[in-house]
Symmetry: C2
Subunit: 576 residues, 2 copies
C-alpha cells in the first residue's frame, strides 16, 4: 500500500511547519489528482500551489487532463453497485473508493442544503407513521447492502426529513441551519472524539474552556470566572443546576442520599419548562416538592408570590434550596424579573438558577440584554446556543458561578480515566465534573460560528429575529380574525395568538365558540404539514384553548415569510 | 433569486416520483453544472443522465466544458479571503459560495481521513495545554473573521487533534472511524433535528423504533418486545436503569421524592463502572448505598458475595432495589456471571440491570455471545454501539424489558410539545419518556452502518478485534519482561499487563521494584504521546501498581499493529 505520509494538513497555515512536505508541489499535486476524484485533488493542489505560477492552466495539457480525470469530468461515474462498506478504508487501497463514496454523500447533502433554503420546496413531505414505515424497507438484516443501496437510503432519509433550514420552518425553538456551524459539525464527526480528557480531545477541551469563560464574562461574572460544562440539552443543564444547589447546601447528600437531608423545596414559575419537574423526579426530590409560583398575565413570575410560598414552605418544615427563574419561557417567551427574584434568594439563602435555555442568547444583544438584568446575581444559568443562536443541535451550556463545585459534586475519580500521574496539567481533564463519562464534542460548532460571525454577528442575527416577531405582532394585533393571547409587545420572539375563522368570529355561544376554536389550530397545523408549506407550533395553556405559538429563531426568515405564514393560516383555516 | 425547486432529491430512487423534474435532463444538467463547483454538478448530472446516451463525452464540447468549468478544473480557486459567513446561505445568491465553502471544508476533511489511516503519520501532535493555548489564537472576539480564517482554524484544529481513526490508537474503548458511520453523521448534522417528536424527526424516530426492536430481539426478548432509548452515553443509560428500578418498586417516588421511600441499596461489582455510583449520587440514593460486591481474580462478580450482601443489607433495614451486573468491565473486560446473578435477583425480587456498555456488542457474535448468557433475564441493559461496534460517538442504547415503564416514570406531558390532539399516532412521540427534552439524533449512524455491514459484518468486525487481542495475549504471556495482571485468555479485548524494563526484572527488593514499576507505564505513555506513535491506556487497580490496559475496538488495527505496540513499549521503556 502506498504511503500518504505527505498529506500533511495545513502546513502552509499552521504555526509550525515540522510536518513532512513532498519534494515538490508539482509532485504532490500529481499524486493528489490521481488519488482523488470530485475535484478534491485539484483543490488540494491549488491550495498548495499558491504562488506557484508554473502550474499549467491549459485543460488539454498533461497536468490539466490528469485533473480532469481526477474530478470525473470525462470519466464515467464510479459505480457503487458492486462496492460494499468493506471496500472502504481501512481496506487496503480503500482510499480512492472512500473519497468517491464520501464525495457522493456530500453531493447529496449539498443538493439537499440548497433545496432546503428554497421557498418553492416543501418544508416536509409528510406521511403518517405506518405509511412511512411501509413505504420504504427500513429493516435491518444479516446481509450487507451495496454502497449504492446506502446512497439510496441516504436520499430516502432526506426525502422524508423535515427541512429544518427552510425559511418557513418555525415549529421549534431550534430552527435554521448555519453553514459554518454545519461545517464545524462535519469536522467534529470526522475528529470523532470524546470530551472527558485533554489526552483525547486537546483542542476541543481548550475551546470549551475559552468559550465558557467568554460566556461567563457576558453574563457579567468578574473576569469570566466560574465553572461550567456543555451538556446534552437544556433539561440536563437544569438538572445539573438542581444537583449543584442541593450539594452546596447538603454536601453529605452525595454519599448518604436524600434520607440524610430534610425535605427540600424547589420553586419555579407555573410557566417554566417541564424539565425542572423532570429533574426533581429524577434526583429524588419529587415533583410535589417543586412549588409552582404564579405568573402574571404576561407569563412572568410574581416575586411576591415566590416569597409567600417560600415562607409557607419553611413553615411546613421544608427547606427551600432552589429557585429556577426563567429567562424566556417556552410558550410566552416571558422573562422573569431576575433582580427581584435574586433579592428574595439572597434573603432566604437559596440557590438562584436562571433557565435561559431559550432567552439566554439575548445577552448577546446590546438592545435586548436588559431583559436579563440581574442574571449576574444568579448562581447558575442554562444557556442553549442551539436555540436562538442557531448553532446546530446539540449545544447547551450550564454556567456556574462558584469554581470547583461541579468537580466536588460529581467526581468519582476513576483511576483508569483520570490518572493522577499524567504528564500534563490535570486541570484540563474536565470529565469528572460531568454526570456523563463519555461526552460528545458540542463545542466546536459554537466556537467556529463565533469566530465567523463575531459577537456582533450573533447580535445582528438575534436582533433580526426579534424585529421579525415585532413585525408579526404589529401585523396581526389589530387584524380581523386575530386575537392575542396576552397584551403588549412580546419580549422574545414568541407571538401567541388565536386565529378565528370567519364562521367563528361572531358566534355568540361562548362555550361553543371556545370548543370550536380549540380545534382550529390543530386542524390548520395538520393541513400545513400535509401541504408541507410551513410549520408552526400550537398548544393550550391553563384555561386557554389551543393557540398558535409562533417563534422565530431561523436566520433565513424574512418579512415575506411572516406575510406568507399569515396568508397560509387564513388560506387553510377560512372554512373552519 | 433563481428558484431551485427542481432539485428534487432521489426522484429516480424513491418509491414515488411526485416530485417536480426539470423539462429535460440536459437542461437540468446544465443548470446543475453552472450552480455547483467541485465536481458536484457533474456528478449530480451523471446521476440523472443514467440511460441517456446522447450525453457528449468529449470534454471539449460545450457540455463538457461547462462541466469542466463547474468542477474547477480550469478555473481559479475561489478566494475566501474576502468572504464572510454572511455571504453564505441564507444570503441572496449565497448558494454557489456555500457550495464552494462546504466543498473546501470537505476537502480538508477527506485529506485528514486519508492521513488518519496512514501508519506513517502521528496519532497525535502533542503539546502541553498552556503551550497549545498560546500556539494559536483561539480567542473569541466581537468582529467576524473571513472564511479563509475559518478554514485555517479548521486545519489547525485537526492538526492538533487526536487521530482516533489511526490504526495504532488504542487508548479508549471507542476507537476507529467507520466511513459509512461518518457519512451518516454528516447527514445527521445536515438534517439538524431533534428526536422528541415524530413531527420533527419522522424518519429518525422510525429508525430508532426499528433498531431498538432489533437489539431487543438480539438480547433474546420475545419478538423484540420492550422499550428503550438512545441516550447521551453509557453513564446516562445506567442512570436511566437505576431510575426505572426505583420507580418500578416505589412509583410514589416520582411525586413524593426519596423521603417517601425506605433506605435503598444498590449492588454492583467492585470492578464496575463509576457511573453506577455517579448515578446513585445524582438520584439521591447516595454512593454509600451502592454496595460493591467482590470480584474474583478475573474481575467477575462473585454471586455468593452478592447474596450475602443482599441479606446483610436487608437485615440492616435497607431495601435492595437494583443490581447492576457488568458485561465487559472497563479495565479487565470481565463478564459477570449473569445466570447466577439473575437467579439471585429473582429470589429477592430485585431489578437486574446489565451494564453492557463495553461488552454488549458481543451479542452480535455467534462465537462470543455465550459470555452474556442470561442477559435475556435482565430487566434492562446498557449497550453502547459507539464502543465495540465502532459507531461514531455518541451512540448508547438503554434497552428495557417492560413496555410503558419509561413513559410513566419520566413523562411530564408538556402540552406545548406533546399535544394530544395531533393528527398522527402519538405512540411515535417518544420524547416524554426521556430525561432530556431535546435529544440529539444518534440513531442514523448505527442504522446506516447496520444496513451497510449487515449483522454478519458487525460480527466479523468484532470477532477480528477479539482475535487480535488473543494474538497479543499469546505473544506476551511468556515473553521476557512481561507479566499478566490476571491469568488466562481475556474474555473481551482487554489485555492487562506489566512491562518490566530490563533494569527492573531481577530486582530483589520487592517494595523498590513495585515503586519503580508503578512509574513505568506513565512514563512510556508520556513518551508515546510525545513521539505520537501510538496510544494505550494504563491505570492501577486496587493494590496493583500501574499496568497497561490494551483494548482493541479499532477495525483498522492489524496483527502488525499489535507487533508495533510491543516493539514501541520496549523501545520507549528499555532504559527505565
Amino acid at each position: 500500500m502506498a504511503s500518504h505520509g505527505f498529506w500533511s494538513l495545513g502546513a502552509e497555515n499552521a504555526a509550525d511547519s515540522t510536518s513532512q512536505i513532498p519534494s515538490t508541489p508539482r509532485a504532490w499535486c500529481q499524486a493528489a489528482a490521481q488519488k482523488f476524484t470530485g475535484g478534491i485533488g485539484s483543490k488540494l493542489c491549488a491550495l498548495l500551489n499558491v504562488g506557484e505560477t508554473e502550474k499549467p492552466r491549459d485543460p488539454s495539457s498533461k497536468h490539466g487532463s490528469s485533473e480532469a480525470e481526477a474530478c470525473g469530468c470525462s470519466k464515467a461515474t464510479v459505480s457503487f453497485s458492486d462496492l460494499y462498506s468493506t471496500d472502504l478504508l481501512p481496506a487496503l487501497d480503500g482510499d480512492m473508493k472512500t473519497m468517491n463514496f464520501l464525495q457522493e454523500v456530500v453531493d447529496i447533502l449539498l443538493a439537499y442544503i440548497v433545496e432546503s433554503f428554497d421557498r418553492s420546496t416543501k418544508v416536509i413531505d409528510f406521511h403518517y407513521p405506518n405509511e412511512l414505515l411501509q413505504r420504504i424497507n427500513w429493516e435491518l438484516s444479516d446481509e450487507p447492502e451495496t454502497l449504492d443501496d446506502i446512497l439510496i437510503s441516504c436520499r430516502a432519509t432526506l426525502k422524508y426529513a423535515i427541512k429544518t433550514a427552510h425559511p418557513r420552518y418555525f415549529n421549534q425553538l431550534s430552527t435554521g441551519l448555519d453553514m459554518v456551524g454545519l461545517a464545524a459539525d462535519w469536522l467534529t464527526s470526522t475528529a470523532n472524539t470524546n470530551m472527558f480528557t485533554y489526552e483525547v480531545a486537546p483542542v476541543f477541551v481548550l475551546l470549551e474552556y475559552v468559550t465558557l469563560k467568554k460566556m461567563r464574562a457576558i453574563i457579567g461574572w468578574e473576569d469570566g470566572r466560574g465553572d461550567g460544562i456543555f451538556s446534552p440539552g437544556g433539561a440536563i443543564s437544569n438538572m445539573y443546576a438542581m444537583l449543584l444547589a442541593r450539594y452546596k447546601m447538603f454536601p453529605e447528600v452525595k454519599e448518604k442520599g436524600m434520607s440524610s437531608v430534610p425535605k427540600l423545596a424547589a420553586f419555579t414559575s407555573e410557566h417554566s419548562h417541564f424539565s425542572i419537574k423532570k429533574g426533581a423526579a429524577a434526583l429524588g426530590v419529587g415533583t410535589e416538592s417543586v412549588i409552582c409560583i404564579k405568573a402574571d398575565e404576561r407569563g412572568k413570575m410574581i416575586p411576591s408570590d415566590l416569597e409567600r410560598r417560600i415562607v409557607e414552605a419553611k413553615q411546613k418544615g421544608f427547606v427551600p434550596f432552589f429557585v429556577s427563574a426563567t429567562a424566556g419561557t417556552t410558550v410566552y417567551g416571558a422573562f422573569d424579573p431576575l433582580i427581584a427574584i435574586s433579592d428574595i434568594c439572597k434573603k432566604y439563602n437559596i440557590w438562584m438558577h436562571v433557565d435561559g435555555a431559550w432567552g439566554g442568547s439575548l445577552l448577546m444583544s446590546r438592545k435586548h440584554r436588559w431583559k436579563l438584568n440581574g442574571v449576574e446575581r444568579a448562581n447558575s444559568m442554562t444557556w442553549n446556543p442551539h436555540k436562538m443562536m442557531a448553532v446546530p443541535l446539540q449545544c447547551s451550556a450550564l454556567l456556574v458561578r462558584e469554581e470547583g463545585l461541579m468537580q466536588s459534586c460529581n467526581q468519582m475519580q476513576a483511576c483508569y480515566l483520570f490518572q493522577q500521574d499524567k504528564h500534563y496539567d490535570l486541570a484540563y481533564d474536565t470529565g469528572d465534573k460531568a454526570l456523563q463519562c463519555g461526552r460528545h464534542v458540542d463545542i466546536f460548532k459554537l466556537w467556529l460560528m463565533w469566530r465567523a460571525k463575531g459577537t456582533i454577528g450573533f447580535e445582528a442575527q438575534i436582533d433580526k429575529c426579534l424585529e421579525l416577531s415585532e413585525y408579526l405582532y404589529n401585523k396581526i394585533k389589530d387584524r380581523e380574525g386575530y386575537e392575542m393571547v396576552f397584551d403588549g409587545k412580546p419580549q422574545h420572539t414568541n407571538v401567541c395568538f388565536w386565529y378565528l375563522p370567519p364562521g367563528l368570529r361572531y358566534l355568540d355561544d361562548k362555550v361553543e365558540k371556545m370548543k370550536r376554536l380549540h380545534k382550529v389550530a390543530p386542524t390548520i397545523k395538520a393541513r400545513m404539514m400535509e401541504y408541507g408549506t410551513t410549520m408552526v407550533s400550537y398548544q393550550p395553556q391553563g384555561d386557554k384553548v389551543n393557540f398558535f405559538r409562533m417563534v422565530i429563531s431561523n436566520p433565513a426568515a424574512t418579512f415575506e415569510d411572516i406575510d406568507f405564514l399569515i396568508e397560509e393560516i387564513e388560506r387553510l383555516g377560512q372554512d373552519l
